[in-house]
């Protein structure tokens, strides 16, 4: 492209939505560029969904195919509920990270690639050869590749272009998507607000240079019109939302052990919790983290422990103790690929069976699954309340996709009703026992150390109402009965989940957790084509709310879409007698005796709406 040409007269192509990626080696700032772009678009009123692109290694070698680090932003005219399908436009700081994304199949066939071209004239002939080879390959593959001298242009302003190229790229993207430059300047001021003014000024200069360069040299630009934003929104990822939810729930203590992808929630919480009198305790292991939380909860302060799959497995015995002792406890499991160490940085919805059925013996627990970033925030408040109302363990199943995705949601309005009351130290009435289970609901007063007359020894052994160890057959059955009743009591308070689409039709698709946006997008697309498809998303996996069966019965076919394994009926030896179903499908089949099919995907990536659309269309046609 001729850099002397100015194209002032170009008109912006109007789009409904676009997916943009900025990728670089680790440490080159593509993450920050992408997050800033998302925030600016959100301020324009656009719906956004951003996803972090994270290499599996901490410091992958520079210019490596597996080293792509960055951000993917889906920008839409209206609200955006998920990361969408493949990418429309990429800014790549080198050709190797680009190659990684091409190979991963993440780019649309007609994707536009804005590629740093400094490598073409690099001193190392091997790098030059690698660059030209890849360049030719991606051009031949049909992508529209535009070489951009980002390094050269940045050098006009800064000595070390490595620190600043990201803001130049941000400027280019602001121009390409007709985002207001002033909003971008303000965003930089916010991003670098803690640093000295000179840093802000320099980054603004780079931003403006990128904007001007794109304006002068690129012969296209877009506009994704959106209604002006009318309310303040917070733009955070699911882990930050969880951490803020912990703060908002009034819990005072989070006990954890480092594990991917849960840890960033604890990182953030560690930074902010103490400001409001809270503590993050990093325990010596996962079991200790859970036992510590149980001790603090027992002592009167409902506590949360945050972990991911392998850590959850380790906590199982302790969780059973909390169930047995009827100690309120919130356990967050930010799911990743399993079993074993599995795929630590990748998304999967494989831990619901462990959460629902886990710990030996009959150990009824509440299992919730937030399905949006906003849900991650509010679910912590709900979880704490349920835990303390029912003296139960509440497991919150988030996942790696929610953990690292950002989506704006209305700024919450703080309510004092969110937070826990002070520790109850009132005397226990004479004659009351620590497990005076209510005959109808199984509920009993929570005895807390410090309460006069309440002295007893909580035990993980079978016990009677007085918490005395009891091996009497009748007593054991009575205790299991009442612990189970509490789930039913909670279930009576739950609302039937709303149906997305018509209340009857040919196909109902059910899901849980982070797949909600993609499922609803696919359902909407099919409905726009006249198909009679609806969906329902469950926030509670245990107990399942009432009314689901009646809704399922109004549809010709029912299936689930989940991020966990299910056997493929097309396999020669798989049939009805041995097929293993996805978790929710299994639960629904068992509970409602309805023939629920399922589609499960375990690729470590969020399930794409186009995939779901194809699956649902096939199910309709079957």
């Amino acid at each position: 492209m001729n850099s002397s040409t100015t194209l002032q007269s170009k008109t912006a192509t109007t789009l409904k939505e676009h997916i943009v990626e900025i990728i670089s080696d680790s440490g080159e700032g593509a993450q920050r560029c992408g997050q800033s772009l998302g925030s600016i678009a959100a301020r324009m009123g656009n719906g956004i969904w951003t996803v972090e692109i994270i290499p599996a290694e901490i410091r992958p070698p520079a210019r490596s195919v597996a080293g792509a680090s960055g951000n993917r932003i889906r920008i839409g005219s209206g609200p955006v509920s998920n990361g969408g399908d493949e990418t429309d436009l990429v800014v790549a700081f080198n050709e190797q990270v680009l190659l990684g994304r091409v190979r991963a199949g993440e780019l649309k066939p007609e994707c536009i690639i804005l590629l740093e071209n400094m490598w073409r004239e690099h001193a190392d002939p091997k790098i030059v050869a690698a660059y030209t080879e890849t360049y030719d390959k991606v051009c031949a593959a049909g992508y529209r590749v535009i070489e951009i001298p980002m390094e050269r242009e940045c050098r006009k302003l800064v000595a070390d272009a490595k620190r600043g190229k990201n803001m130049f790229a941000l400027g280019m993207l602001c121009h390409l998507y007709s985002l207001e430059l002033q909003l971008a300047r303000e965003q930089i001021a916010i991003t670098f607000g803690k640093k000295e003014q000179s840093v802000v000024t320099q980054n603004v200069k780079l931003l403006e240079a990128g904007f001007a360069w794109a304006e002068a040299n690129l012969d296209f630009c877009y506009r994704i019109p959106a209604p002006r934003a009318t309310e303040p929104k917070v733009v955070i990822n699911g882990n930050t939302a969880l951490a803020l939810g912990v703060l908002a729930s009034g819990m005072e203590l989070c006990s954890m052990y480092p594990i991917t992808p849960a840890t960033s929630a604890s990182h953030y919480l560690s930074d902010v919790f103490e400001k409001v009198g809270g503590v993050v305790h990093q325990a010596e292991d996962e079991i200790a983290a859970c036992a510590f939380a149980i001790g603090a909860s027992y002592a009167g302060k409902c506590t949360v422990t945050i972990t991911s799959g392998p850590g959850y497995s380790l906590k199982q015995e302790a969780i059973g103790l909390a169930v047995m002792g009827e100690i309120p406890l919130v356990v967050v499991n930010v799911q990743r690929g399993g079993p074993s160490t599995g795929q630590p940085t990748k998304v999967e919805q494989g831990d619901a069976p462990a959460a629902i059925f886990g710990s030996h013996g009959d150990a009824p627990k509440v299992v919730m699954a937030p399905s949006t970033i906003e849900d991650c925030f509010y679910s912590m408040i709900t979880a704490r309340k349920i835990a303390e109302t029912f003296n139960m363990v509440v497991v919150v199943l988030s996942d790696a996709s929610l953990a690292t995705s950002q989506q704006p949601f209305p700024r919450p309005q703080f309510s004092e009703s969110w937070i826990a009351p002070p520790v109850d130290q009132s005397a226990v009435p004479e004659g009351m026992k620590p497990y005076d289970w209510d005959a109808a609901t199984g509920l009993a007063r929570r005895f807390i150390p410090g309460q006069p007359n309440g002295m007893h020894t909580l035990t993980g052994l079978a016990h009677d109402r007085a918490s005395h160890v009891a091996y009497d057959p009748e007593i054991n059955e009575e205790t299991l009965h009442f612990r189970s009743l509490k789930l039913a009591a909670l279930q009576k308070t739950l609302k039937t989940p709303p149906v997305f689409g018509d209340p009857q039709g040919d196909l109902l698709v059910l899901g849980w957790g982070s797949t909600k946006g993609a499922i609803e997008e696919a359902v909407q697309a099919l409905r726009d084509d006249g198909k009679k498809v609806s969906s329902m998303h469950l926030q509670f996996l245990q107990p399942l709310p009432g009314g689901i069966k009646e809704i399922m019965q109004r549809f010709g076919k029912v299936m689930t879409v989940e991020g966990n394994w299910c056997d493929r009926p097309e396999d020669e030896i798989i049939d009805e007698s041995n097929r293993r179903y996805s978790t929710l499908a299994l639960l629904l089949r068992a509970r409602y005796l309805i023939d629920v099919d399922c589609y499960g995907e375990v690729k470590g990536q969020p399930i794409k709406p186009s995939t779901i659309r194809r699956v649902l269309a096939a199910k309709l046609a079957a």
Binding site: G45, V234, A248, V276, G277, P412, P452, T457
Partner: protein, 323 residues
């Protein structure tokens, strides 16, 4: 985290409790079991110190000794195998106003819960920990424990255990932030009581290894020490314990030991021939984790609100100003 408001109140009337006020049920330990002696010493401590039963928590794991809380009329937490210490730490961090005790056995503490033991020493949270060390698994019916002497015949080591015994005192004295280590034997009640009392009065992680007899599975293992008082070394010091005249008549083997001398304490601990009894080590200057984590912030609704709003401010995208 913050102290309860009740901590600020003056106690206007003194409570007086008798031994029975701390007793609950009839212990189901075997007759002659050292646990009975420990229970008696601890109940006496509670009475003498006037501990309010509702403000006192005994936390245990699993094993014979971990039944202890059931026999105290206080709050108790009889949890899962090996995890008494982290549970007690959670109680302590949440509730600085409670008296926290831990009862754990040699299997519970030194085997399945060993990781927690090491770290509990390092946290140095204010609690009194009794290691009931009878050198054998009792509740599961006689298997070798990490502290069983080499050659111990048990159901899992019918031809004698092959490994040298782990020395709980040496391990404890080897960990950073160790602040109180003492040893007692179940058969000298007066001394046991004094040691338990000193442990209770130490602010920090007070670790008392109690050499304890198991009449059921290892009835003879302590006989050489029982029959020969000279093999017990009474540790005495003006900053430690001073044995009574009566005690000194029987246990004449006494040693001046300054509890601030860590290296000497380690030497004494490593002697498996003699049993040193008394305070091996005490350092009241080691900070407690719960104090280090206190930042004086009261967890009030107003503080939560302002903290949340400040965080939301960081992440809020505001609508553009009209115009």
């Amino acid at each position: 985290m913050n102290m309860l408001a009740t901590e600020c109140l003056l106690e206007l009337c003194e409570e007086r409790h008798e031994l029975e006020d701390y007793q609950s049920g009839v212990p189901r330990w075997c007759s002659g079991c050292g646990d009975n002696a420990i229970l008696a010493a601890v109940q006496r401590l509670c009475r003498d110190e006037g501990l309010r039963p509702e403000k006192t928590v005994f936390v245990s794991g699993i094993g014979c000794s971990s039944r202890f809380p059931h026999y105290m009329r206080t709050y108790g937490f009889h949890g899962i195998h090996g995890r008494a210490l982290p549970v007690a730490e959670g109680v302590r961090l949440a509730r600085p106003d409670l008296n926290v005790f831990v009862n754990t056995g040699d299997g519970d503490c030194c085997s399945i819960g060993a990781a927690h033991w090491i770290h509990a020493i390092r946290y140095n949270m204010n609690m009194t920990v009794f290691l009931h060390d009878n050198q054998i698994y009792g509740l599961t019916k006689m298997q070798a424990s990490p502290t069983s002497p080499r050659g111990t015949k048990s159901n899992t080591t019918p031809r004698g255990s092959t490994l040298e015994a782990l020395q709980p005192l040496s391990v404890t004295l080897g960990v950073q932030n160790v602040s109180f280590v003492a040893q007692a034997v179940d058969w000298i009640p007066e001394n046991l009581y004094e040691i338990v009392k000193a442990a209770y009065h130490h602010k920090g992680f007070s670790f008392v290894r109690i050499v304890q007899r198991c009449p059921e599975w290892l009835p003879k293992v302590w006989d050489p020490w029982l029959h020969d008082p000279q093999r017990i070394t009474i540790l005495r010091h003006e900053r430690g314990l001073q044995p009574s005249a009566a005690l000194s008549q029987v246990y004449r083997n006494q040693l001046e030991h300054d509890p601030s001398n860590l290296n000497r304490a380690r030497e004494l601990a490593s002697d498996t021939d003699q049993i040193p009894v008394g305070i091996l080590y005490r350092d009241p200057s080691v900070p407690c984790y719960e104090d280090l984590r206190q930042n004086g912030k009261l967890h009030t609704p107003e503080l939560i609100r302002s903290g949340l709003e400040a965080e939301f401010d960081k992440f809020t995208v505001w609508p553009q100003a009209a115009g």
